[in-house]
Amino acid sequence: MAKPTTLKDHFRETRLFTHRTITALAFTVVLMLMLMIRLVNLQVIEHDTYAVLSDNNRVHIAALPPTRGLIFDRNGVLLAQNLPSYSLQVVPEQVDDVDITIEQLRQLVSITEDDERRFRKRYQSSRRFKPITLRTRLSDEEVARFAVNRHRFPGVDIAARLYRHYPQGSLAVHALGYIGRINERELQNIDTSNYEGTDFIGKTGVEKFYEDILHGEVGVQQVETNAQGRTLRVLEQTPPEPGLNLHLTLDADMQRIAEQALGEERGAVVAIDPRDGSVLVLASMPGFDPNLFVGGIDSKTYHALRDSPDQPLFNRVLRGRYPPGSTLKSFVGLAGLEYGVVEPDASIYCPGWYQLDGDDHKYRDWKKSGHGPVDLNRSLVESCDVYYYDLALTLGIDRISRFLEPFGLNDLTGIDTSGELAGLVPSREWKRRAKREPWYPGETLITGIGQGFNLVTPLALASATATLSTYGQHLRPRIVAATEDPDTGDVVDFPVVSNIAVPVEDHANWHYIIKAMTDVVHSRHGTARRIGHNAPYEIAGKTGTAQVFGIKQDEEYVEEDIQKRLRDHALFIAFAPAHEPKIAVAVIVENGGSGGAVAAPIARKVMDVWLLDKGHLHPKHAGKTP
């Protein structure tokens, strides 16, 4: 065994070993104490911090998006609703490879280029743990196919959502508007916390104007999630408050009649109840199906709409600024009476043209042969231009514009829907400011017949007509009558808002003009006589044509179209019954030609529905008529 020379001193070795063992034990105890200090530090001193971190880990706040309010017409016809749909959502941080995931998903559900492009745009900008929608409105079959394969796609899930649907299609699209995905710019202007979980926002029309009311208040849910982000249970929740339902003043039946009456024409029809400013019809044709925009329109369809020469996306009622043409004569005539510069029975002679002193230019009447002797009544019935050249010159531009402005023709009407543009009543001051030029007398002349610088939207024209019909009572046009709480059924009526009334010098003057306007429709020579001879109620109206000054340089039309597009716009304003007005209408048919032949029959159809079919001519409780 051991070599004899190396003697082991067992006693000494044992003592050495014992010492070393004691050292080892001490070493062990010291290190264990170190561990204990570390653990006391974590579990006692920093416990609160880590307890919060632990809760932050497991507790997540999930938004509960509110249900958007429904929109009804005045009779309860549903115009905008929410339908359930399933969409495919992706949580970026839980997906390893997005490209592969999308490719594999393609085998189960159809994903268009547009879907993918939209998704990728949002994928780059949104937070990693928030779900992003890849596809909306999955078919039942697609939902089933994905559900079976769901385990293959961590971070991808199906979410049940409500999407906006407009059951009447394109009907009243320019009044309702539509909703679409929230874009970058809108994101700057909204309370983002209230839009957690909401992808859509009102883009135009009532949907935009009443966004706050329709959207509601977001709810929150505290949920416990595991490390993979799956919700395990709800800890606490505040339910969302749904948006309020809107009841519009629009009448879907009249709206449909108006849109059908315009048919293939481009134009606008506005009907207002002069008694409370309710907009009954707000038609701009052609229209489009707002359902295309919900959940994203594909670019091809969008470009087709945008680039169409008929401009279906253009809201003619609110944004179309047309010369009022001869429809303005009612107002200018009234101005003449009110300012006392016109003797109603005094005639002037119309040779078919008019000339200013010291000017060779002949201002022509639409009737080349002339109207002969013309008094105020006849000037409106036959729409004599020469009479108004003379009257305008007598009044002067200052009095004309001062008189027209209270009718709201130089302002926004203030209607409660978005996108309205203001009309224009020219004045010296305006011309100096806008054109840096002085006012010329010739411009006063053409202002008198509603040409020149005058511009008016169909809505403002209808509103001014309503104001005329009620002897200067100027109500703000309104499109929403009431809100309704979907939970409680509480209805809140919106008040009628009066603008400053047009000052009235003498009621007889207004009565005279209204009488003359009934002659426009009901007398033998009236320019709108074709809608008057069989009317069971009295209509006051005025036709108009607005010259088209030319086509835009960059537009191309086939020759046939050029002829059509160079024709005058046809206008007609009317209210009925003439002396107890319950509806005021303005119609504009672009390149329609004659106001009496094209625009007036459309107005008649709309008024028939309201007064006859809807029974407003002879209300059942007739005792209260003022």
Partner: protein, 376 residues
């Protein structure tokens, strides 16, 4: 030699207790059984109440205790004789695993023997202290400089082989089993300090002159995982949250949200201590550490009472290795030490390393129960 081969009861027949004839140390057994019981409870909770996993752990514990009992029956004398051969076989296996090793978890550690797979480095955890103890035990201690140099060589060769797998954690652990033998053999502290300084200098030298940038980056992450909160740091951050949120009394059994909701990674294996700390708090930890300390003290007592140099050195080294497991694991889980993949002895779910540990306890029991009963 012949004396050592003679069965104990042939020499002295006084006071032979049941535990002695079964070659069991009751104190150690009690400590190990307590740990096993805790392990099953914690595993049930940490695994998300996976009873199958608990049963598999029961089977492993069964295997472990069987191995321990079996080894306890062996006389330590043949163990000493076989030490060089076991060491040689271990070395051979390490070379084999480098040549023909199967890729397991990204590193070559496993050797597929057809019926089962095992890690040769586990063999080395026992073979190393046995070999060093065998080499030093027959000569006067403390060892001479020449003997010390050879012992260092014995330590370095397998350490480098394991490091090449690469498995730095196990390599350091295996090296430390040998170093503990040297410490118990009484090498001077001054020499030990010199070795430590040399090792540190070598590491620094390697870091600055012999590493690529990406390797340096790895070292930095290794030293400070929290600078990489989604990668290596994620483990340690979640682990600290689990421990810290446990507080004094813990969240209660089955109520640890960090482990139950999968925020805590490796919650049944390497990070089980965090799951335990979350549910049982500081008081639970005190109990656990008390059991560990009890086992260590008992083990060191066995070492002191051992009757020859080989068994003393071996016993001391095995006990201290057991402690190193505990210290490194808890230190890493609580963010005190860098993350190296060492399990918490007897609590973590897992097979091979537990069997090795139980074999070590078998050796301890064998050493203690095969003593020659000398007259007082």
């Amino acid at each position: 030699m012949s004396l050592l081969d003679t069965p104990v009861h042939d020499l002295g027949q006084r006071r032979r207790s049941l535990s002695q004839s079964l070659h069991i140390d009751p104190s150690l057994l009690l400590g190990l059984l307590l740990l096993s019981g805790i392990s099953l409870f914690v595993l049930y909770s940490a695994s998300g109440q996976d009873i199958d996993l608990v049963w598999r752990q029961v089977v492993r514990l069964g295997v472990g205790f069987t191995v321990m009992f079996a080894i306890a029956q062996l006389n330590p004398a043949p163990l000493k004789r076989w030490a060089p051969w076991i060491f040689a076989i271990g070395l051979g296996l390490l070379v084999a695993v480098l040549v023909a090793g199967e890729i397991g978890k990204g590193a070559q550690r496993w050797l597929d023997l057809g019926v089962f797979r095992f890690q040769p480095s586990e063999v080395m955890k026992l073979a190393m202290p046995m070999m060093v103890a065998w080499y030093l035990s027959d000569h006067p201690l403390p060892p001479t400089a020449k003997r010390l140099a050879v012992a260092c060589l014995i330590i370095i060769v397998p350490t480098l082989l394991i490091e090449r797998q690469p498995d730095l954690g196990t390599a350091l652990l295996v090296a430390s089993t040998g170093i503990f033998v040297l410490l118990f053999a009484g090498i001077s502290w001054r020499l030990m300090a010199a070795f430590a300084a040399l090792g540190a200098a070598g590491a620094v030298l390697k870091y600055f002159y012999f590493m690529h940038d990406y390797q340096r980056q790895r070292v930095l992450t290794f030293l400070n995982p929290e600078q990489d909160p989604l990668g290596a740091g994620y483990h340690i951050i979640q682990s600290k949250i689990a421990i810290g949120s446990g507080g004094l009394y813990g969240k209660g059994w089955l109520n640890g949200t960090q482990s139950q909701l999968n925020f805590l990674p490796e919650h049944s294996t390497d990070f089980i201590f965090a799951a335990y700390a979350e549910e049982f708090g500081l008081f639970g930890i005190l109990i656990l550490l008390a059991i560990y300390l009890f086992i260590i003290m008992r083990g060191l007592l066995i070492a002191v009472q051992a009757q020859d140099t080989f068994t003393r050195l071996l016993a001391g080294s095995l006990v201290m290795t057991f402690f190193i497991y505990i210290f490194v694991n808890i230190g890493m889980v609580s963010g005190l030490l860098p993350v190296v993949g060492l399990p918490l002895p007897l609590i973590s779910y897992g097979g091979t390393s537990m069997v090795t540990l139980m074999a070590a306890f078998g050796i301890l029991m064998s050493i203690h129960t095969h003593r020659k009963l000398l007259p007082r």
